[in-house]
């Protein structure tokens, strides 16, 4: 097992009624057949905390594994963390995409934590 990344943290703020989509990892790891295990989590990190947001973590290419979630009245700042473990076998390098949709009338910030490993 190779630890590709260990507890890397993004701080992502999204304007009201907007979507933020980013590559968290791009062209990662070997291009030969590899089993990936990626732990992802998302929590609030300031802003308007009484709102609705939804998100999707996707391992590309071709949406091999994904984690979609949503939170309503996500009030406790940093108190509630949502997460999942994605695993998939790829025969190319790995791309991890995160999209966050903030449907609230005010901006919101999120903490995103990722650990990725492959075998």
């Amino acid at each position: 097992m190779t630890i590709y990344s260990n507890h890397q943290t993004w701080n992502i703020c999204v304007a009201s009624q907007s979507t933020s989509t980013n590559y968290l990892y791009s062209n990662a790891g070997p291009s030969s057949t590899t089993l990936w295990v990626v732990q992802v989590s998302i929590g609030l990190n300031g802003g308007d905390n009484t709102q609705y947001a939804n998100w999707g973590f996707i391992i590309d290419p071709n949406d091999h594994a994904s984690y979609f979630g949503a939170a309503i009245e996500w009030e406790t700042n940093g108190g509630e963390i949502y997460g999942s473990t994605l695993s998939t076998s790829l025969d190319t390098s790995m791309y991890l995409i995160l999209g966050i949709n903030n449907q609230d009338s005010r901006s919101q910030c999120y903490n995103v934590l990722v650990t990725a490993m492959y075998y």
């Binding site: 990344s5 304007a15 907007s18 933020s20 989509t21 980013n22 590559y23 968290l24 995409i97």
Partner: protein, 150 residues
């Protein structure tokens, strides 16, 4: 003599709070070493879509842009990063936009409606508070020393 010791202890506690703990709170939106910061904005009006603090390698610090969006990297402007994220953490990301003429990230809440002055807002708090606290500690210490040696 006992009173002087108590006063001295109180001063030490206040000084520790002022120069240690308070700046730590104020610095919660400080740019992190090795991080990359960028904003994605709409090309039509310069409004900010997202502001991102991205960790060091192997993270990819690459937004996926929708039609009509552009990215501006601001890592080399740490004061701007600090003020932008301080506002964003208070649900005020909407106060910011990219001036499409000058291609500068500006705050509409700024009096000058230009680039944020380096000595304002949170920067002012984080600089002035420890300085004032240190000055106060020095003056009190001097006062106590003079009384003790009368």
């Amino acid at each position: 003599m006992r009173n002087i010791a108590l006063i001295g202890l109180a001063i030490l506690i206040v000084a520790s709070l002022a120069t240690g703990i308070l700046p730590a709170f104020a610095a919660s939106t400080d740019p992190q070493p090795g991080y990359t910061y960028y904003v994605v904005y709409n090309q039509t009006d310069g409004s900010i879509v997202t502001a991102v603090g991205c960790p060091p390698y192997p993270a990819a610090c690459t937004p996926i842009l929708q039609p009509g969006q552009s990215v501006m990297y601001i890592t080399d402007q740490p004061l701007l990063v600090k003020q932008l994220f301080a506002d964003a953490h208070n649900a005020k990301l909407g106060n910011w936009h990219v001036n499409l003429q000058t291609h500068q990230l500006v705050s509409t809440a700024s009096v000058n409606s230009g680039p944020i002055s380096p000595v304002s807002g949170i920067a002012m708090i984080s600089i002035a508070l420890p300085a004032l606290a240190s000055l106060g500690v020095a003056m009190l210490g001097s006062f106590i020393w003079r009384r003790a040696h009368k």
